[in-house]
């Protein structure tokens, strides 16, 4: 059937939470009322990336991208745009006055600086319709591998592409496949790590929600390359939409013979199953993930033996993350040489980041390796809200570290980030401005690891807890001389002694903030002062007599009656009563209250 218009609506988790189901229902109803259901097709897609501006809707053929669409906007979009052909300018995401609406996004840095390989189909196709994936060359790479390439040629191509694991470690994917391929075994497995657990990261979720077939196709290719006929996707149960779309995609692929016996009429058979994780962060660690698939408590095992030798149920197994897989079909179709042209010398291709924190364009972006932090923050991210000063970027989640403003021009790739004391991680990027206290940030990430430690080894189980206690002491104004050194001592030894990657990297947020912001730590410990004004226990609110007009507003709003004075004379805060809630400061119209 031919439609005159296509309405693409983001059905990712974020937009779904922002009333997309209602928007879809209203749209269907409105189209039916106008008798347009056979002329306008609604396409539910995955994430467009710019979550900050969601829900997002794109209407073709015009290419009008609407943002912050609300259910009440539907009537206008249908009546104006779809019936009368008039663009609803007030909802346009980009340039509202451009002549050709298709070009309205041309100057939007968020979109025009991205290179979308892993996210190529997200926001473009309906992830629940396999034909849409096939129409975008889907399963062509699998066909090519099975009919034109030997398993070794597939591995060679991946090796040549320089693709490195996108889950955090950055291990060369081709090499991993080669190890598993070299093993002689009656059974091998291909696993997909979709246990994305970094706070604020949602790259993998978006790919699974927006383009599940790319992962399925890649896993089948991997199975062919290493000689496995069974795969498992380990996905967290907190991703219900991703799970549902994966289930649909797997059954469609089976129906089309793209999973199952004798794929493309060859001898190669491969099938996939989903395993749900219960939300333990440690299950993103490869051996813990496999232990969990086996039905045990998700805890890491010592390596060696590595999974490529002895993995799932003791059989050779490869595990790659969602984003890594999403790159595979494109590499096989366009060739390693093409892929090679993108990125830096040792980090090829692109990386998807989930940008959050103090940034205007919160969302998901895919950038070529080697782009600088400055470009990501200012060109793509739209800068820092309220014109505040950039202080640091946290990458790699709880395993990563902070990159200070002094390194804002360093090209982002695996090795540079490691050198700076952070890491690529799975791609969470949290931007911090001058109002963030770095000790507090370190404490936040450590609290996460303390909770998520599996408890198997003492360095992680107890060590991170003790580090957290020290940080808690420091941020409560009870820091003692020697605390910083104690943190460093613990951190170094936990890195050396912990059993798995989670524990070994857990101290990174603390180490990197001490490395770049030691003065802030010292201010907390020695002067009992929080320079960023975040740590409540260290703060005091004062009324600046010169600025106070004696309006009494603050005194009325203070929840504990700590402010007193005479009308039209400067008021005073009783420090013994003050609970440092900050209400007075927010209330004062004369900026007469300061905290220090």
């Amino acid at each position: 059937m031919v439609y005159r218009s296509h309405v693409l609506i983001c059905n990712g988790t974020g937009c779904t939470a922002s009333k997309v189901p209602e928007i879809m229902a209203r749209l269907e109803k409105a189209l039916a009322e106008k008798g347009l259901e056979k002329e306008v097709k609604i396409v539910k897609t995955g994430c467009f990336g710019l979550c900050e501006k969601g829900p997002i809707m794109v209407v073709y053929p015009e290419g009008a991208t609407y943002c912050h669409v609300a259910p009440d906007d539907i009537e206008e979009i249908v009546n104006e745009h779809l019936v009368k052909g008039r663009i609803v300018k007030r909802l346009l995401l980009g340039d509202k006055d451009v002549e050709d609406v298709a070009k309205s996004l041309d100057n939007v840095g968020f979109f025009n600086r991205q290179v979308r390989i892993a996210l190529r189909n997200c926001g473009v196709i309906n992830p629940e319709v396999i034909d849409e994936y096939i129409a975008r060359d889907g399963y062509m790479a699998l066909a090519k591998a099975l009919t034109e390439m030997t398993p070794q040629q597939v591995i060679d191509e991946i090796k040549k592409s320089g693709l490195r694991g996108r889950g955090g470690g950055g291990f060369p994917t081709g090499m991993k496949w080669q190890f598993a391929a070299n093993q002689v075994s009656d059974q091998k497995y291909v696993c997909c790590n979709a246990d994305e657990g970094d706070p604020g990261a949602f790259m993998d979720r978006s790919i699974l929600e927006g383009d599940p077939h790319s992962v399925i196709e890649a896993m089948a290719i991997a199975g062919y390359a290493i000689g496995a006929n069974q795969g498992y996707i380990y996905v967290r149960a907190e991703y219900p939409i991703a799970v549902q779309r994966l289930q649909i995609a797997i059954s469609q692929a089976r129906e089309y013979g793209l999973l199952g016996k004798n794929i493309f009429g060859t001898d190669f058979s491969f099938d996939l199953d989903i395993r749900l994780g219960a939300g333990a962060f440690v299950c993103g660690e490869e051996t813990a993930l496999m232990t969990s698939i086996e039905g045990h408590r998700g805890e890491p095992r010592t390596r060696p033996p590595f999974p490529a030798v002895k993995g799932l149920w003791g059989k050779p197994t490869i595990l790659n993350n969602v984003e890594t897989y999403a790159n595979i079909p494109v590499i096989l179709l366009k060739g390693a040489d093409w892929f090679n042209t993108i990125g830096t010398e040792k980090s090829k291709g692109t990386k998807v980041f989930a940008i959050g924190g103090k940034i205007n364009n919160t969302g998901l972006v895919e950038i070529p390796m080697g782009m600088t932090l400055r470009e990501v923050i200012y060109d793509i991210g739209g800068g820092i809200p309220k014109g505040k000063k950039f202080k640091a970027a946290q990458t790699g989640g709880p395993s990563g570290g902070c990159i200070p403003a002094s390194h804002i021009d360093v090209p982002i790739d695996y090795d540079n980030l490691l050198e700076l004391g952070s890491m690529m991680g799975s791609g969470g990027m949290i931007i911090m401005d001058e109002d963030n206290c770095m000790v507090d940030i370190a404490k936040f990430f450590l609290e996460f690891t303390v909770d998520e430690s599996c408890g198997k080894c003492p360095p992680c189980r107890i060590g991170t807890k003790r580090m957290y206690e020290i940080l808690d002491r420091i941020t409560s104004g009870k820091g003692e001389e020697g605390d910083i050194e104690k943190l460093e001592l613990l951190a170094e030894n936990i890195k050396q002694s912990a059993l798995c990657g989670l524990g070994q990297t857990a101290p990174n947020p603390v180490l990197s903030t001490i490395r770049y912001f030691r003065d802030e730590y010292e201010a907390h410990v020695k002067e009992h002062r929080c320079p960023a004004g975040v740590c409540r226990a260290l703060l005091k609110y004062f009324i600046i007599p010169d600025k106070c007009k004696g309006c009494s507003l603050c005194s009325k709003k203070c929840p504990v009656g700590a402010i007193s004075g005479e009308i039209k004379k400067p008021y005073v805060i009783d420090q013994n009563k003050c609970i440092k809630c900050g209400v007075c400061m927010d209330t004062c119209k004369f900026a007469a209250i300061e905290k220090k």
């Binding site: 408890g455 189980r461 912990a498």
Partner: protein
């Protein structure tokens, strides 16, 4: 022939077999690497990080798990490694309830020893301590999570060796704790009370339910006639606590010590073991001759009995109806002995010294009171007896040997070997020919059922009847064997099952040997040697030759399997759910 690789440890070239670990290779050249969680064959998980070494990787690696490889360069001792181990140990100590002086494991604590070895004088990282309730509701086992170092040895032995899984690690991070499902008390789980968790524990997080106070109380009660019986395995191990080499039988000194403690009579449970063989042998012959339920399975091990009740309730009819020797003896003491000595059975207080924690649970079984009084009043473990001896200031090593008391003072070698895996089977096979034909055959040392293989099989032809027998020790092995039987893959007439690996000599109530010893020697075999040695030296080595037992039948029970015997010496079992439904 295994292949070897050459590696370098601390600059020294070492040849080690492929598949061995850095820990083993280092040990072979006299380099000791500290360990805590590692318990060979039971808990090999690399969790505690005490054994970290430098193999040139990004981080330090656990020597207990790291495989040797050609050309591997290992450093086991450097400032970095020493500091890493100290920090880890200080962290463990910082989360450990350090009430060492009043701890059951004081002076026999692996953590204490480690702290001493690693030169810990100060804990730099003290912090919050968790406070958990102590689970002391079980008749046998007390769990104190406040002392737990989360080495997982107990979990591994319960899950992998015994296949009971009454405990697991639950929760995460600093709140991680070893617990039963839903934090139920151990008594409400399928815990079989074997106590293997206790002997695996490096610290004082697990201990037996202590009964010494109750025994002291009885001994101080002038109205009571307090008698004691000691199981065969006790004499094989108690010497370890007094400085004797492992495997030294110290029967005479043990008897002397018990007399010094004030027991009116000191009896040998071996006598009841001989009685058990008479009853059980007769039962077996009867089952074979009269198409009874086969295979018949021994019922001496209370851990095994509870395991069967939980996990194989459909096989309860396969269990011999014989009470365990402990309870047979109790019943004999409160019937035959009471009558013979003219003592009111109500005034007889029977204490047993057992290598076993499950015996405490067994003694509490309501059905085991066929005289109208509990067969056994209190059970203490070998370890508790040691405590009582120490408390009394008895100089064990300088005691003059003494003999068990009459009547029933003499036991046979068959009764003695009950304490080792295969012992009951061997004892039975020594008597079955006689029970079948009235004549002994030449078989006395039946070596096929000895040794520490998990499952052993034997075939014996007696008077034209082929008897196929199997022996399993450790409940995981029992499960394997029973599953084969149930699947029809194996057929036997008679099966011996002991809950504990090695049998009673390595029971959950025995002296605790640290991992440093258990990793190096076969404790099961070493302790069994003491029993086989005693067996060799005894006049009578077949149960049916025991003069005391024969006299007992003559004066009281009439014949094996007779009416009185049936009432006093046999029992029944109850099917139990694994986890009771709400």
């Amino acid at each position: 022939m295994s292949e070897y690789v050459t590696l370098t440890i601390d600059g020294k070239e070492v040849k080690a077999p492929v598949g061995s670990t850095v820990l083993e290779a280092a040990k072979s050249v006299g380099i000791n690497i500290p360990t805590l969680c590692f318990l060979k064959g039971i808990n090999e998980i690399g969790a505690c990080r005490m054994c970290v070494v430098d193999v040139g990787a990004r981080s330090l690696q656990a020597a207990c798990m790291y495989p040797v490889s050609e050309g591997l360069k290992v450093i086991t001792n450097s400032p970095k490694i020493r500091e890493a181990r100290r920090v880890t140990l200080e962290l463990i100590l910082s989360s450990h309830e350090k009430k060492c002086l009043s701890c059951v494991r004081n002076i026999n604590c692996e953590l204490q020893k480690l702290a001493q070895e690693l030169n810990i004088h100060d804990i730099r990282f003290e912090g919050e301590l968790q406070h958990y309730p102590i689970d002391d509701l079980s008749h046998s086992i007390v769990r104190d999570p406040n002392k737990c170092v989360l080495c997982r040895r107990c979990v591994s032995v319960c899950k992998n060796v015994q296949t009971v899984s009454a405990i697991e690690t639950v929760d995460r991070g600093y709140k991680t704790i070893v617990a039963s499902p839903f934090h139920m008390p151990l008594k409400d789980t399928p815990c079989v009370n074997c106590g293997q968790c206790i002997v695996a524990c490096p610290v004082g997080a697990l201990r037996e339910k202590n009964s010494t106070d109750k025994v002291w109380e009885a001994l101080n009660n002038k109205d009571l006639h307090v008698v004691v019986q000691t199981a065969p395995a006790v004499r094989a191990a108690i010497g370890e606590e007094f400085g004797y080499p492992i495997g030294t039988p110290v029967t005479g000194k043990m008897v002397a010590a018990l007399k010094k403690l004030g027991f009116a009579k000191v009896f040998d449970t071996d006598t009841a073991a001989d009685l058990t063989i008479m009853e059980e042998g007769t039962e077996l012959v009867d089952r074979i001759k009269n198409n009874g339920v086969l295979p018949m399975i021994t019922s001496c091990s209370p851990g095994w009995i509870k395991f069967c009740e939980h996990f194989y309730p459909d096989m309860l009819d396969n269990l011999s109806t014989c009470k365990s020797p402990q309870n047979m003896f109790g019943a004999v003491l409160k019937s035959y002995y009471a009558e013979k000595m003219g003592i009111d059975p109500a005034k007889i207080f029977v204490v047993s010294v057992m290598p076993c924690t499950a015996k405490k649970f067994e003694a509490e079984r309501p059905e085991l009171a066929s005289t109208g009084y509990p067969d056994v009043d209190e059970v203490i473990t070998t370890r508790e007896l040691v405590q009582m001896i120490r408390e009394s200031g008895i100089d064990f090593r300088n005691l003059e040997d003494e003999e068990f008391d009459d009547p029933m003072g003499e036991a046979t070698g068959a009764g003695v070997i009950f304490g080792a895996t295969g012992g009951v089977m061997e004892a039975a096979l020594r008597s079955v020919p006689y029970l079948l034909t009235g004549k002994d055959d030449d078989n006395i040392d039946i070596n096929v059922v000895r040794g520490t293989d998990g499952i052993k099989e034997a075939e014996l032809e007696v008077a034209g009847i082929k008897i196929k027998a199997a022996v399993a020790h450790g409940l995981g092995n029992a499960r394997k064997l029973l599953d084969k039987v149930k699947a029809g893959e194996a057929e036997y007439h008679f099966i011996e099952i002991m809950a504990c690996p090695g049998g009673c000599v390595c029971g959950g109530g025995q002296p605790i040997q640290p991992a440093s010893v258990r990793n190096e020697i076969n404790l099961m075999a070493e302790r069994a040697k003491a029993l086989y040695q005693e067996d060799q030296n005894l006049t009578y080595r077949r149960s049916h030759q025991n003069p005391g037992v024969l006299k007992m039948y003559e004066e009281y029970f009439e014949k094996p399997g007779g009416h009185k015997a049936h009432k006093l010496l046999h029992t029944h079992y109850v099917a139990r759910e694994i986890y009771p439904e709400e």
